[in-house]
């Protein structure tokens, strides 16, 4: 990859005070300084990126971790020194590069006139220096209502395709869209007030009442998130923290718009027939995609089991992310029956899901950072093809929405079983059966 892991947006912002503008500039500078740290970690030639020494077997790492659990800590770099695997905490390994980030955050803490936000910035700076990331996450979730938003540090694990354990550095900076955040929160209350029966209830984390949502006018993505270009996140990732403190769902307006314009809309136009396409406008599909993102993140709330990451290991994100979207669509089906969503909305959401899956699969070689989503997309499309919910005729697909909804129901039963009590081998068997790309490339 030659391009920098940095994306900036020219977002339309609400009115900010002079003080807020000054603080925002400092946060943007701090965010940019994450880029060189992430560049030290990323390496798409190896499934373990630069988190582990290259050429070392997975079994060798597992063996070393039995003696020293820090080897498989989310926040250490593993190196081979004197023929022995050694774990170095991130805050020590990248101390030199972290110093200017910390300085910017501390200056912003001095400048801001909001005491709570200043405290939060200090806690985030401290975490970068000493590894107290959980405290920083909890603090970040508790600062509200406030207009400026920064999340910075090692967070997501998608670059560790060996174990799905090691976190990569990233930062986002934005300004909260208060009006739309309130709307999303109301939507969240309606959805999460419904109790959903789950398999293995004793193993399920229950934090429905502690979920918060926000929509960001995004200004900057740096590090891993600039590569993955996520349109929504649900933090913290640690289920134990989630159970205790709840979770915070953030949707990124500008990134969603960018991804829609550059990826989804062109893919939609490429894969569907002209007769079918004209039934849906760009606005329908863009809204469908945004609803899907919100439903996906909310659906995660129903899918958190205590030990699913441990059981499914590196295949956990493939199953978990696919299940969240499928569950999100099922939840929308229920909203339709209560007149809270319309048929057109549900159709647009399903189309957005299929279009996303095609976009991943057809461009998979350009997206090594999104490998788990690409496999999930292939599983979805092959499942829908097998059930006849989507058909190919001369490279054009024509979806049958009713069959598709039934297929989502069936797929969710399978994914739910794997997530709640399955082993890695179950996830592997599902991927082996439905994860092939060969069948899908004829859409080209």
């Amino acid at each position: 990859m030659n391009d920098k892991p940095l994306v900036t947006f020219d977002a339309k912002l609400p009115k900010l005070s002079d003080n807020e503008r000054k603080v925002l500039d400092l946060l943007l500078e701090a965010g940019r300084l994450i880029v060189p740290i992430y560049e030290e970690q990323e390496n798409y030639k190896f499934p373990g990126a630069n988190f582990y020494p290259h050429g070392v077997l997975k079994s060798e790492i597992e063996k070393a971790a039995k003696e020293n659990p820090e080897i498989l800590s989310p926040y250490t770099v593993v190196e081979k020194i004197d023929n022995k695997l050694v774990a170095t905490p991130y805050h020590k390994k990248y101390a030199k590069l972290l110093k200017p980030v910390v300085e910017k955050l501390l200056v912003a803490a001095e400048v801001t006139s909001n005491k709570n936000f200043a405290e939060c910035l200090k806690v985030q700076a401290k975490a970068l220096l000493d590894g107290s990331y959980d405290e920083a996450t909890i603090c970040w979730m508790s600062v509200k209502p406030y207009i400026l938003d920064i999340n910075i540090g090692p967070v997501e694990r998608y670059d560790d395709k060996l174990f799905f354990v090691k976190t990569a550095y990233q930062a986002w900076v934005g300004v909260i869209d208060k009006k739309n955040s309130q709307k999303l929160n109301k939507y969240k209350d309606v959805i999460l007030s419904t109790r959903r029966k789950v398999a293995m209830a004793s193993e399920k984390f229950d934090y429905y009442g502690k979920v918060q949502t926000r929509i960001d006018n995004t200004l900057l993505f740096a590090g891993l998130i600039a590569r993955t270009k996520f349109v929504g996140v649900n933090l913290p990732n640690d289920p134990k923290l989630m159970e205790k403190y709840g979770s915070e769902i953030t949707l990124f307006k500008e990134m969603h718009k960018l991804r829609f314009e550059t990826a989804l809309w062109p893919t939609f136009n490429r894969i569907f027939s002209p007769e079918f396409k004209k039934q849906f406008s760009a606005i329908d599909l863009e809204r469908g995609s945004l609803y899907l993102t919100a439903l996906h993140e909310l659906a995660h709330t129903y899918l958190r089991y205590r030990d699913s990451e441990k059981r499914l290991q590196d295949l956990f994100p493939v199953i978990d992310e696919l299940a969240a979207s499928v569950m999100g669509i099922k939840m929308c089906g229920s909203l339709l029956l209560k007149d809270i969503a319309s048929t057109q909305q549900l159709e647009s959401i399903m189309l957005a899901f299929i279009t996303r899956a095609y976009n991943f699969v057809l461009n998979e070689e350009d997206k090594p950072e999104r490998g788990q989503y690409v496999i999930g997309g292939a599983v979805l499309l092959n499942f829908l093809l097998e059930s006849g919910a989507i058909k190919r005729a001369g490279g054009v697909s024509w979806p049958n929405f009713m069959k598709m909804f039934v297929s989502f129901d069936e797929l969710m039963s399978i994914l739910g079983r794997v997530l709640s009590r399955g082993k890695r081998s179950d996830a592997e068997a599902l991927i082996k059966k439905y994860g092939s790309f060969t069948n899908l490339r004829s859409f080209n």
């Binding site: 109301k186 209350d189 309606v190 007030s193 419904t194 109790r195 959903r196 029966k197 789950v198 099922k330 089906g333 229920s334 339709l336 029956l337 209560k338 007149d339 809270i340 048929t343 549900l346 159709e347 929405f401 009713m402 909804f405 129901d409």
Partner: protein, 153 residues
């Protein structure tokens, strides 16, 4: 054809109060806002004036809507029968693994945030007349679920 609008007595009262507020207070407030915006200067390039006119349209449309609702209102019993589901019943249902408690109300009073669904919604219309323990089918052209009535209040 006159379309009956089903309302609880509380819903009817709320509609009356809202209509009265819009006619006696809100109209005057919006009128003042328009007047103030005119004083800012040229109405052609005046965003506040445009916003005030938009608000006036919304208020007038809402007044027409509420007058129509009150004209065609049919008040439903406030003490619904617990033997089967009627408009006004609060029902505990299980559908697609979801357990939910919902109140069936007329379209005007539907409020998802308060768990009030319209009698005209696919679920609301399927539930009407059903008894405790009964399983009804709820269907739209896309979604088809079986729904079990666990409790009627």
């Amino acid at each position: 054809m006159v379309h009956k609008v089903y309302l609880t007595s509380q819903g009817l009262e709320e509609a009356r109060v809202e209509l009265s507020f819009l006619k006696t207070s809100k109209r005057a407030q919006v009128s003042d806002r328009i007047q103030r915006a005119r004083e800012f200067g040229d109405v052609v390039e005046n965003a506040e004036y445009d916003a005030a006119l938009d608000e006036q349209t919304l208020v007038e449309n809402r007044i027409i809507y509420l007058e129509d609702v009150l004209k065609n209102a049919k008040v439903i019993a406030t003490d619904p029968n617990n033997d089967f589901v009627v408009i006004g019943s609060t029902v505990k249902v299980e559908m697609d693994g979801e357990v939910d408690i919902l109140t069936i109300v007329g379209r005007v009073e539907a409020n998802p945030a308060k768990k009030k669904i319209s009698n005209e919604s696919p679920l609301g219309s399927a539930l009407l007349g059903a008894k405790k323990g009964e399983v009804v089918e709820v269907a739209t052209p896309i979604v088809r679920y079986k729904c079990k009535i666990l409790e009627i209040k």
